[in-house]
């Protein structure tokens, strides 16, 4: 994969993510973790090779089908990508509205999600009124509210306190138990130690190795 006419940022990637699996994506900064997540979230096409998602070769699907595939993916962006003019409620409701959910379901799901994630008092707040950590929680809530089949999270715990980080990974693990495949990019070895799942290791745009899950340490 390359951006525009620049150098290839990902090469020789051979990766299969099974439904309901959980993987950490680790590696130094600039290794290509975010680029791989962009490829998997269908925000960037592969310049060569094939990406097959939910059994469909994404290069061969039409625009409507691409939209349908994207609706099955939840993404937590590193820079959150929240809409500043919308309230916390409307930001989280966005994937459900796009999916055509009825307003009652949206209201129930979104309120529940915001309360669960600890933003119940900030339903009407807009992102600029929230702290960095709260914005990150909001971005996570938006990604998981539609219970996606694939969840891609780019450093979702980097701005929150350890207790909240713990809670978030617990949420991801719960989704994983319900059948969502999770790919979580992180630098935190502590996280990997506490929640042992297989690790995909990247360096210089290449997938170096997939490590088996570390023995689980004490989980709170």
């Amino acid at each position: 994969m390359r951006y525009g006419s620049g150098e290839e940022v990902l090469r020789d990637i051979g990766l299969s993510i099974n439904a309901g699996s959980f993987h950490y994506l680790m590696g130094p900064s600039g290794a290509g973790k975010t680029s791989l997540l962009r490829l998997l979230s269908l925000s960037q096409p592969a310049s060569r090779g094939t990406v097959v998602l939910f059994g469909r070769d994404v290069a061969r699907v039409d625009r409507d089908e691409l939209g349908r595939l994207r609706r099955r993916i939840g993404v937590v962006f590193q820079d959150f990508r929240l809409l500043d003019h919308l309230t916390a409620f409307d930001n989280v409701a966005l994937p459900l509205r796009i999916g055509g959910a009825d307003p009652e379901r949206i209201s129930a799901y979104v309120s529940q999600m915001l309360c669960w994630i600890g933003l119940g008092d900030f339903i009407e707040a807009r992102p600029p009124q929230l702290s960095m950590g709260q914005r990150q929680l909001l971005a996570v809530a938006r990604a998981v509210v539609g219970r996606p089949d694939l969840l891609l999270a780019d450093e979702p715990t980097s701005n929150v306190d350890p207790a909240r980080a713990e809670r978030l990974v617990h949420l991801f693990a719960e989704l994983h138990k319900l059948g969502t495949a999770v790919v979580l990019a992180t630098h935190s070895r502590e996280l990997v130690r506490r929640w042992p799942f297989p690790v995909l290791h990247m360096e210089r745009g290449r997938l170096i190795r997939a490590l088996p899950a570390e023995p689980r340490a004490a989980v709170g």
Partner: protein, 293 residues
């Protein structure tokens, strides 16, 4: 909890924010232009309903009896034609009064009897424009020297002016509507470019093009309804002031007033504009989105 805000912050750019005011101003002009057309149409219809008089001039003759016979023949011919209400012979006194400004008073400034033509006024029924050349041809079959003249000159000029104003008003209204659509297309394209990151996010969340285009459509519709209401209300106030205030002061500006149907036609202008603006915004956004990968 859910707000009425659009997913795209389309009111954040100056062009989008002032779209309603642009539309309001242009609706104001469009309604006034259409009002000119409506008033001009009323004038055309009113003039068409006004009886028209043409005059047949027969040259003077020495033989009074032959002259009278000629007049009788001409009148009989004319009164038998369709579209002619009646004819009347202009009296000698009336004729003297007509020529007085040029020839002086009869018997005082004009010694002796000067031969004057005999004039027959022909009153035509209201209706379509008469073919005066054909009428003159027919008259000349019984009076070869006869001349036919349309004696209501202002009638023709007014009618021509009203017809031109009707087309100009309608044309100006159309131009303003087209201009409004051009503004909407430009603003929509600008907004699409300015909000490309948000559009990209919506698409990443799985929004199909029709969902994103609907955002532009809703914004344009809201602007059109708001601007259209303001523009129409202002135009209505202007029209009422121009139509009904001067008569109260004794100086009416217009000879005709819009009929109830005309008011309805004028009210359709902002509705039609809103519909066209909404469709234009949606089409522009859809085409713009189709160009994106």
């Amino acid at each position: 909890m859910a707000s009425e805000a659009l997913d795209l912050p389309l009111d954040d750019t100056p062009a989008s924010r002032f779209l309603a005011w642009f539309i309001g101003g242009l609706t104001y002009l469009a309604v006034l232009a259409c009002a000119v057309a409506v008033l001009a149409q009323g004038t055309v219809e009113r003039l068409a309903d006004t009886p028209r008089i043409v005059t047949v001039a027969l040259p003077p003759v020495d033989d009074a009896a032959a002259g009278e016979a000629e007049v009788r023949a001409v009148r009989a011919l004319l009164e038998g034609l369709p579209g002619v209400a009646y004819t009347s012979l202009v009296s000698k006194e009336e004729l003297d009064r007509l020529v007085e400004p040029w020839l002086g008073r009869a018997g005082e400034d004009r010694p002796g009897e000067m031969p004057l033509p005999r004039l027959v006024d022909v009153r035509l029924l209201p209706g379509p424009e008469p073919d005066l050349a054909a009428l003159a041809e027919k008259v000349r079959t019984v009076a070869p020297q006869a001349l036919l003249e349309d004696t209501s000159p202002s009638h023709g000029t007014l009618e021509t002016l009203a017809r031109r104003l009707r087309w100009m008003g309608g044309g100006a209204g159309l131009v303003v509507l087209v201009l409004t659509l051009v503004v909407v297309v430009v603003v929509t394209r600008m907004s699409l470019d300015l909000h490309d990151e948000t559009v990209d996010l919506l698409r990443l969340l799985g929004a199909p093009d029709r969902y994103v285009a609907r955002q532009f459509e809703l914004h344009a519709m809201a602007s059109a309804l708001k601007g259209g209401s303001i523009g129409f209300t202002a135009a209505l106030a202007t029209l009422v002031a121009l139509l009904y205030l001067p008569p109260l002061l004794g100086h009416p500006l217009f000879a005709v007033e819009p009929r109830p149907l005309d008011w309805i036609l004028l009210a359709i202008v902002p509705v039609l504009a809103a519909l066209m603006i909404t469709v234009a915004a949606r089409l522009t956004a859809t085409i713009g989105l189709a160009r994106l990968r």
